[in-house]
């Protein structure tokens, strides 16, 4: 417990860095949105059925970047987005248009459209807001009729909590100087890196990308919340792909999430990383095909981050405890152990950095205008809480600032920065020693070390097996004699209640996995921070292979002077 507190305190200084530095009332988009919201809401709340809550989210963003494929610039972009999402709630907080239908398909899309700028008299902007509100209200009223009908004709819901808890009124305004990047220098770096595949006939394709997305989000709702928050996501990434004769598609790559140009890797380091990835790809192509097996395994830190995200994180999302269509794996397990007592898991979106690495899951206010806050999900293995949006569930009435959505989608509870904290750690070397001991103790031919995962998915609904599948992109067999052998062509599979229980040990090598997570409410940036862990058993199954034959001729880049 002490150790947990220590980690928690370590995080705390970062959480207070976001200070207001502007007046939200003086922001022209806020002024125009507020005026139109007030004018409209006065009329809309008297309709039948009434609009009882209305919010506007305006995204004012710049997207810049460059994409290099196979040694040439495929795309350079510099785009501005000024898009409005309108979210009306129809009916009342007990039963409204957002309720998931028991019979039929629920649509999570909202009206979202580019709107004219606020320059000049702002009339064109206001007109667009009015028009989109009208369209959004029509949709929402239709949805509400479907919800009402569904409530009459469907079986009783297991959790009859209200559909909405009004969020508290908030005002916040922060501006920041967004980091700018030398695109020309980065482009040249990417072109240089892309030439490293020349002469390698096993590299079938390669892509190198830099993107810098930054800007402000303005949020206004009928409760009175007025927000202006900045965000910036910068990523340098590459991927190098190949394939084996038997159709296993393989790739190696790396992503660098940064916030300043100084945080980007040096040219030397970047090119070395690319060379290493090419080498690893070649190793994988030559490697034996993995067998379906259950063996002791190490999930290295980043892979563990993805594992926790897929296996536990999604099942701790509040709305998945409420809807009958979900498996509700953890709904009734609050206060009970659900994972190894070694682990504490907290989702903390207020954390902008970890060990100097920017976290993509950082935000100040969620998509419903609720202040972001850490949510302690699991303490020493015991389930404590869920990730909550403004949709209450049994025993958890309030949002903890995890209502998230891609613009144009309806928010549901989502992860931000999911952090795994081990109460006791060893060095990574010791963890491998423990793995060797496990292999021998269990009489297994080998153990597995998962170094990297590309991602995965989990099924939380009842219509299908509520299992998960993760796709390792680099793994080894560790033989009892300590020899390591790269293998390929296997996925990790399992079910949530079993998989986490047997975490035997954890290392002290915490690392960040930055990624994007897709679910009902669209794609949102997330991070996972975890140590490497030793699992008593991990199940591997064969991965899907493509029917596509290897190209008849080698790629032109394999020629000496392409």
């Amino acid at each position: 417990m002490k150790k947990f507190l220590f980690f928690f305190l370590l995080l705390f200084p970062f959480t207070v860095q976001a200070q207001q530095n502007c007046s939200v009332e003086k922001q022209k988009p806020i002024q125009l949105l507020t005026a139109e919201l007030k004018r409209g809401f006065k009329v809309l709340k008297k309709q039948n059925p009434p609009i009882y809550y209305l919010s506007y989210t305006l995204q004012d963003e710049i997207s810049q970047g460059v994409w290099v494929t196979q040694g040439g610039i495929e795309k350079i972009w510099d785009q501005a987005h000024f898009a409005l999402t309108v979210f009306p709630r129809v009916g009342n907080s007990q039963l409204d248009n957002t309720r998931t239908l028991k019979k039929g398909q629920t649509f999570y899309g909202l009206i979202k459209k580019d709107v004219p700028g606020v320059e000049g008299d702002g009339k064109a902007f206001t007109n667009a807001v009015w028009l989109l509100t009208q369209q959004a209200v029509e949709w929402a009223q239709e949805d509400y009729s479907a919800v009402q009908a569904d409530a009459h004709i469907s079986s009783e819901r297991l959790d009859d909590s209200p559909d909405f808890m009004f969020p508290p009124k908030e005002t916040f305004c922060r501006e920041q100087n967004f980091s700018q990047f030398d695109l020309e220098r980065i482009t040249q770096l990417l072109l240089k890196a892309s030439k490293r595949v020349n002469g390698k006939s096993f590299v079938l394709s390669s892509s190198f990308k830099f993107s810098n997305d930054y800007g402000y989000r303005y949020f206004v709702d009928s409760v009175g919340t007025r927000l202006k928050t900045p965000s910036q996501l910068v990523r340098l990434t590459y991927s190098i792909e190949g394939q084996t004769e038997d159709g296993t598609e393989l790739s190696r790559g790396k992503s660098y999430d940064v916030l300043t140009e100084e945080e980007l890797p040096s040219e030397e380091d970047f090119l070395a990383a690319v060379d290493r990835s090419i080498l690893e790809l070649e190793q994988q192509i030559k490697a034996p095909d993995a067998d379906p097996i259950t063996v002791p395994a190490i999930l290295q830190n980043k892979a563990m981050g993805v594992f926790v995200h897929e296996v536990l994180g999604h099942r701790a999302e509040g709305h998945r405890q409420k809807e009958d269509s979900f498996g509700r794996t953890f709904t009734d397990k609050v206060g009970q152990p659900i994972v190894s007592s070694l682990l504490t898991i907290v989702d903390d979106p207020t954390l902008p950095y970890f060990n100097g690495e920017p976290l993509r899951g950082f935000y100040e206010y969620d998509s419903e205008g609720v202040k972001a806050a850490p949510a302690l999900l699991v303490e020493n293995g015991v389930l404590k809480n869920f990730l909550m949006s403004s949709s209450p569930i049994h025993r958890f009435a309030k949002s903890n600032g995890h209502g998230r959505a891609e613009p144009g989608r309806r928010p549901v509870s989502r992860m931000g920065n999911t952090r795994v904290i081990a109460s006791k750690t060893v060095s990574y070397e010791d963890l491998e020693k423990q793995l060797l001991e496990q292999i021998k103790e269990q009489g297994k031919p080998y153990g597995i070390i998962i170094e990297d995962l590309s991602g995965g998915f989990t099924i939380t609904e009842t219509f299908a097996p509520q299992s998960f599948k993760l796709e390792p992109t680099f793994m080894y067999r560790l033989y009892p004699d300590g020899r390591k052998e790269v293998v390929r062509g296997a996925d990790i599979v399992g079910t949530p209640l079993v998989s986490f229980k047997e975490v035997l040990a954890a290392a002290d090598d915490y690392a960040v996995f930055n990624g994007s997570c897709g679910a009902e409410s669209g794609w949102v940036p997330v991070s996972a921070i975890a140590p490497s862990v030793l699992l008593r058993a991990l199940e591997l199954e064969k991965t899907q292979k493509t029917a596509q034959k290897l190209p008849i001729l080698p790629p032109p880049s394999s020629e000496v002077n392409p």
Binding site: E36, R39, G40, V43, L44, Q47, V68, T69, Q70, G71, G72, I73, E74, K75, I76, W77, D78, Q79, A80, H81, F82, D114, V115, P116, G117, E119, G120, K123, A124, F125, T126, N127, A128, W130, L131, T133, Q134, V137, K195, N198, S205, K549, P551, I552, L553, P555, P556, S557, P562
Partner: protein, 534 residues
Amino acid sequence: MKKFLWFVFILVFVPLGRASAGDEFLRAMKDEMARSKKELRLAGNPDPYYIVYRIKIIHTPFVVKANMGSLYRTETNSRPVVNSGVLLSSGNEKQDSFGVEGNHWFTKRDVGQSYAALRHSLWELTNEAYLTASDLYARKEAYRRRKAAGKTNVDFIPGEQSVYTEEPPQLPALDKEQLQDFAKALSAKGKNLRDVYDFYVELSPEQAERYFLNNLGGQVRYGWAAVTATWKALFRTQTGYNLQLERQVIFDASSDWQPRLEKAIDEFIVHLQKMQSAQTAEAYIGPVLLMPAAAAQMWERTFVKNMIEFSPLVASDGTETSGGSFKDKIGLRVVSAEVDVYDKPFLREYNGWRLKGFTIRDDEGVTPKELTLIKDGYLREIPTSSRPFKKGIQSNGHGRSLQEFPRETLTNMVVVPHHPLSQEALESRLLEMCRAQELAYCYIIHDLSEDILERDMMERIYTSDGHKEPVMGLEIETTFSPRLLRDIRAAGDESSVLNTKQNISIVTPALLLEEMELVPTDKKPERPPLVPKP
């Protein structure tokens, strides 16, 4: 001050000088084609014998978007986008892999802008196309074995190949700020119109280049510079319908397009206001006047449809599909004698409107011939490709493809009336015909598109005094068969252009038709906005 102006010129104006990349692209195409022709082999399958590489480079320096007098934040693509495509047939000229329905697409994708990137893309696409060709060859062979008649024609008789290179026209220097102001001013025209909820204008200048290379020696390079204008309005009619009207016109960038666009938008507003005030209508059978846009749509649905793609394809279930029916009607009278129809591949523009049918070489590398399609009502010539649909047919340079392998098609179809009439004279003729049938009114139709919203609006013209009245809510019950073409009674003296989705341009004047049937629709009006427009 001079220095400042010079700076402004550099920063704001957008000249495009980017010709040197072309040689590199061509080299990549030639190198990969040579390697593929020599080395691409799959044991047990026929070799590739016909390979085409196409690339298209499009540079859109900026896009200007405005609504109700305000600008959108614009998107900028500062570099050209390169799209590469490969078409490959295996076998030989007597028997090849082309001709199976729906599966022999022109494989294509965007690529990086360099020799290496383009070669890589062509390598991938050629490999993919060869595997597809091998599969289709086997299917076609199975089909032939099943057919008692067997094979009667050769599959491919290549036309004469040549090299054509034309330096692409440069996009004229465009002042972005001036275009922004122009778009703002155009969109502001909708700002104070009654019950107009949205009025959007988009201007997109574009410079494009096309490269074509086949393994028979055909090589083409040419380009164009154009400005695409798109505008649309959302509005409410007095009968309670919420409608959206949209238009798109492609102007030749070197033409004096801005005043013409402004005129087109003014006419659009007049049209829109007529739609707003239109009354509901009743069923009608009688003469109609098709305005040029509607006339072009009529040609597309009755004539063009039957004048293309004559070679039947083998369907995926092993049966044949039907080719265009006019292949068997040469020498027959298929159209009224009031008009002649030509196919003019080399026309780049008509009155400043860019013609997408412009073809300097067809997609088989053959120089197209101008065709007299209809003379005095009789079908004289038809388009042909290098794939003969019957014995003795040779290509006249009309093998074009959008996504599939090249098939017979038209380029720029131009309708020329024998006795062109002014709009006034056309309306008089219409009224005469109506009076002869003792009708109280007849119809002027502006649009015949598939879009029901668009074609809802028509104009009644009354026989008593010639006054006009907009009406809405009519659907056309007439079947669009080639029979309709024989009902043309007169044609106008001003033409407009329709660029079809198949990249065929139709240039036609207004047409007076003997008879059409119109019936009312059952569409219900919508409620007014809950909150009044701000």
